[in-house]
């Protein structure tokens, strides 16, 4: 073989390895994301490595995370409310230890902690003790807490991932928050985008079209954090004053920014779809006596409809995955969204705000990865659907 052939083969092998590498990488990323979060399904809603112990005469043996939260909040204060005996619930945790016992009693390395806990639980019928498992004697009666399931994460309404002793991992308000701002964005952006697309494709002259397209491209280039900053200093006060509401950090502000962010995508893809309408169809319509407007609405739009639908679905996907802009203007309150004029919390903002403090491998960390996986799967599905519609032409 000549030197040239060897060189060629060499470069081609690099190409093959790149291709294979990328293929593997794609699959790897997907798998890795799932893996990081899936550990959570082995865990219960109780903080890891911790146990809940009760007095042996307490018949209650199971608690849900919501019940635990109610106990902490004081809404449940008697075992009677949980189906047990008529006894006040007394919570006994690590922070109580420091006020009840001196360091000497506990031992310099907490050697005596276990016996102290056991003694305390045995002598108080209403106690609910929450301690790391290694300090809880095996002989004490334990409370079971349900394992975390995907359903419990997606259906739960309370998102308090750092709550003690039971983190509340109900992501429903967050998921709905993401959906609400994205839908709001499309409601604003779709009509605007299609109108602009029609104008560019059918009405505007060539030079005007190029000028406007350049301007729209500028919109596409602005980084999301700049949008967020603009939203924070201009949009949020504006929304607050316009609607005379207590705060301007609302889902609406988020939707408006997201609409701006997805507008270039919708406009350019819709414009492509509209321009692709065959001239013969349009000529036929005009020949039949329709004017340009009737042709647009009677022929062009229907023909381009699948392309337009594809563009809007992609826009939704883009809006759903936006992070910085919504983090800065939506107020980040994890409530069930009831109106556009209230603060809301999105999946992306939750991940961005909370990931830094979640210890690797902990329950909070894994919950955030589950959210991330959900985000990934959702955007993936959205892109597939959009592609389906795009192929329909």
């Amino acid at each position: 073989m000549t030197i040239k052939k060897i060189k060629e083969k060499f470069v081609e092998s690099i190409i093959y390895s790149c291709g294979t590498f990328t293929t593997l990488a794609v699959l790897f990323i997907i798998v890795f994301l799932f893996k990081e979060g899936s550990g959570i399904f082995q865990k219960t809603a109780l903080e890891e490595g911790y146990s809940l112990a009760v007095n042996r005469y307490n018949p209650v043996s199971k608690l849900s995370p919501e019940q635990i939260k109610s106990i902490i909040e004081g809404d449940i204060h008697n075992w009677h409310q949980l189906g047990g005996n008529y006894d006040s619930v007394y919570i006994f945790t690590l922070s109580d230890i420091e006020s009840k016992f001196t360091q000497e009693e506990l031992g310099a390395e907490f050697e005596h902690l276990k016996e102290k806990i056991t003694a305390y639980v045995e002598s108080n019928t209403g106690v609910l003790a929450f301690f790391p498992s290694k300090y809880v004697d095996a002989s004490l009666a334990k409370i079971d807490v349900d394992k975390i399931t995907l359903a419990s994460i997606l259906k739960g309404k309370d998102w308090y991932p750092t709550a003690n002793p039971a983190p509340q991992l109900g992501a429903l308000p967050i998921v709905l928050g993401s959906i609400m701002v994205s839908l709001g964005a499309i409601i604003i952006a779709l009509p605007l985008g299609v109108i602009v697309a029609i104008f560019l494709a059918e009405i505007a002259g060539e030079t005007l079209k190029n000028v406007i397209k350049t301007v729209i491209e500028l919109l596409a280039g602005i980084p999301s954090v700049v949008y967020g900053f603009f939203g924070l200093v201009v949009l949020v006060p504006f929304v607050q004053q316009l609607f005379d509401i207590p705060v301007g950090e609302t889902a609406l502000s988020g939707s408006i920014l997201l609409a701006l962010i997805s507008l270039p995508t919708i406009i350019s893809l819709s414009e492509d779809a509209i321009s692709a309408t065959p001239q013969e169809l349009k000529n036929a319509s005009l020949a039949l006596g329709a004017n340009r407007l009737q042709t647009i609405f009677g022929v062009t739009i229907p023909f381009a409809s699948s392309g337009i639908i594809s563009a809007s679905i992609l826009g939704i996907g883009r809006a759903f995955g936006e992070t910085m802009a919504v983090l800065m203007v939506t107020g980040n309150a994890a409530i069930m969204p009831k109106s556009l004029l209230e603060p809301v919390r999105t999946i992306t903002a939750t991940i961005a705000a909370e990931l830094g403090e979640a210890p690797t491998g902990g329950i909070h960390y894994e919950a955030l990865f589950i959210l991330g996986t959900f985000l990934f799967v959702f955007t993936f599905a959205v892109n597939l659907i959009a592609e389906f519609f795009a192929q329909k032409r």
Partner: protein
Amino acid sequence: MLPLMQLEIEAYMKRNPAQLNVTGGGSGVGITSLLEGTVDIAMSSRELKMAEKLKFEEKGKKLIVMAVANDALSVILNPQNPIKQLTREQLEDLFTGKITNWKEVGGDDLRVVVYTRESSSGTYEFMKDHVMNKKEFTKTAISSSATAAIVYATSQTKGAIGYVGIAYVEPIVKAISVSYDGGQKYIAPTFNNAFNKTYPITRPLFILYPLEKEKLVKPFIDFLFTVYGQKLVTHKGYIPLK
């Protein structure tokens, strides 16, 4: 604590040929990073949780925790809000969402809007433990990842209530007096009241580092306790140790 540490680092680097850098995110982030070993020093505006102490012990990391300054946690309201003082119980009810309208505490007929930090913040945890009796913040609270945002938002929102370290209080918001004895005596969050600990919501600000890194970090730690280091504390609006 971030602005304070940043200033200290800047001053220290002017005087010493060392390279330091700092990142924020809240006390939770710092402690986690220290646990993971990605940082050498962590700042915390709250005590270590027992769970965290145990985690460090599991990893075999002996921790040195030192208070470098004190802080008075101020509750701030919009300047147009006529309320000037509140009891701890009222604060608890306001922040947990039990009270939803200012008229319930003698103010105007205005919806209460709670501003809070994210759960990674030491200030957040401190408020929960010491002011709210370990209850959770209301779900409708607006979360910010930084204190300055709370100050700004409170100044813009008539019904707002927020909490910030004394160093962050600006004339655009109103810091109210607090009573921990059921309304007998209300104490204002001033420098002096914090310094002699009469203001009830005072807290130490901590620096943590693993014993194994002591040689590395000691010069900087010592700097924090020098006269100049403590002067910077006051300069930034916090309370020095002595």
